[in-house]
């Protein structure tokens, strides 16, 4: 059997898996962005209860391993009568986990906006919501984009773990193919190559492009 005929026979399985991975990636990215912004702002809140809740959330999700969280959601939650679909469990776990890392990035970026910007918007008598939305967040966004680039790659890699709760993603398909064909080098090698193409030639250029566009829009670069 040559590699070409291997691809002809099983190529569609890789494509199916890659599609599921792509959807998992987009869903968990969406969730992570929402969670990161919500808890990132809460970390900076003047209300101590909100702040403590956010610190608790971030420490909890960063301190326990993603795989542990995934298995807990999948095996333990049903015991309390909450049964979630595999796919939903998968991106919930990944999104909540990576969102906790993202929250720290959001906090850091907002704090890095120069003091003068805060004072100037105060002097223009903007409301706190206006100040955040129009002055602080756009600048913080540009500052944190490079760090988000790394986080997004981590997120893609983390989605491979959902194969362990039987979501039929790329990792899962590769494992199934390996169990039936025993062609480990080709199956796992192909899957590795697809992940590599995803992160190096799709995600990284997209993030770079966003960085450039956003920097231009706020007049840096």
């Amino acid at each position: 059997m040559t590699y070409a005929s291997f691809l002809a026979d099983y190529g569609s399985r890789f494509v199916d898996g890659a599609l599921v991975t792509a959807i998992q990636f987009l869903c968990s990215l969406g969730l992570a962005v929402v969670v990161a912004n919500l808890f990132g702002l809460m970390l900076l809140s003047s209300n101590p209860t909100l702040r403590r809740a956010a610190v608790g959330y971030v420490e909890f999700f960063r301190g326990t391993s993603l795989l542990v969280q995934l298995f807990w959601l999948f095996y333990v939650l049903p015991l309390f009568g909450i049964t979630l679909d595999n796919f939903l469990t998968g991106f919930l776990a990944v999104g909540l986990n990576l969102g906790a890392y993202g929250a720290e990035l959001v906090r850091g970026a907002i704090q890095s906006v120069p003091r003068g910007q805060w004072e100037a918007s105060y002097a223009l008598s903007m409301s706190p919501a206006q100040r955040m939305r129009r002055i602080i967040l756009p600048q913080a966004f540009v500052t944190m984009l490079p760090a988000w680039g790394n986080l997004v790659i981590e997120l893609l890699k983390s989605t491979a773990l959902v194969a362990l709760i039987a979501v039929p993603d790329l990792m899962f398909e590769a494992r199934q193919l390996n169990n039936t064909t025993y062609l480990s080098t080709w199956t796992f090698g192909t899957a590795l190559a697809i992940y590599y193409v995803f992160s190096r030639f799709l995600i990284t250029p997209c993030m770079r492009w966003t960085e450039r566009v956003m920097a231009r829009r706020i007049g840096r670069a």
């Binding site: 326990t64 391993s65 795989l67 542990v68 298995f71 333990v76 790659i153 480990s184 590599y196 190096r200």
Partner: protein, 221 residues
């Protein structure tokens, strides 16, 4: 579903023993990563352009593909070429190489933070390249790298549960086994989460303290 304390007490010794294995896996993986990472970092600083280029590509590839897939790859591909690796050996190679790629970036950052004048001074007093690295550059590159190295120590610890996919007898594997035997998943998985949380929070504190101590000892503030 109610928490069963008798069951918790019964499985506690098993879980603690497995925690020992988890720590061992993290420690060994990190030791491998620390050494190979340094080789990766130094290989990118040689005058040989081709070596720099190849190492750079290897590091990028490892960093952009999922660890779980790399673990499967190392474990299953060996036998195709007559190389049978035990789960422990395969797991250590995979996790060691994965984090070597990350640590090489930390080292690179540390080495680049050493001022140019230090290199020139070494040339001026006729030190060999080996002496320059060992006595002047690396000791100064270390303190700025400690925070990053510490983060990856905690990260490698949190990634060890993934080793359970090839049957390394660490904490996650023990929880799976205990849960499967007794049809009780609440206690084992929750205990794994608590153990991870306690260890990663304490080690994060310890690393901050260690960094401060090293900086003080070397007279850098």
């Amino acid at each position: 579903m109610k928490w069963d304390f008798a069951f918790t007490a019964e499985i506690l010794p098993k879980m603690l023993w497995a925690t020992g294995n988890t720590l061992l896996a993290a420690g060994m993986g990190y030791a491998i990563a620390a050494v190979i990472g340094l080789l990766f970092a130094l290989a990118q600083r040689t005058p040989l352009r081709i070596l720099t280029y190849i190492t750079r590509e290897i590091v990028e590839f490892i960093r952009s593909t999922p660890l779980v897939l790399q673990i499967f790859f190392v474990y299953y591909v060996g036998p195709e070429y007559g190389l049978y690796l035990s789960p422990w050996v395969a797991g250590m190679i995979a996790i060691g190489l994965h984090y070597a790629a990350y640590l090489s970036e930390v080292y690179r950052g540390g080495i680049e933070s050493v001022p140019k004048g230090q290199w020139e001074a070494c040339t001026a007093i006729n030190l060999t390249t080996m002496q320059t690295y060992r006595r002047i550059v690396l000791p100064q590159a270390l303190p700025p790298a400690i925070a990053g190295m510490g983060n990856y120590l905690v990260a490698i610890f949190k990634d060890t549960p993934i080793l359970s996919v090839i049957g390394v007898a660490e904490l996650m594997q023990a929880a799976n086994a205990v849960g499967g035997q007794n049809y009780r998943y609440l206690e084992p998985y929750t205990m794994v989460g608590v153990i991870f949380l306690v260890i990663s929070l304490t080690s994060a504190r310890a690393i901050r303290w260690f960094e401060a101590t090293v900086r003080r000892k070397l007279g850098m503030q």
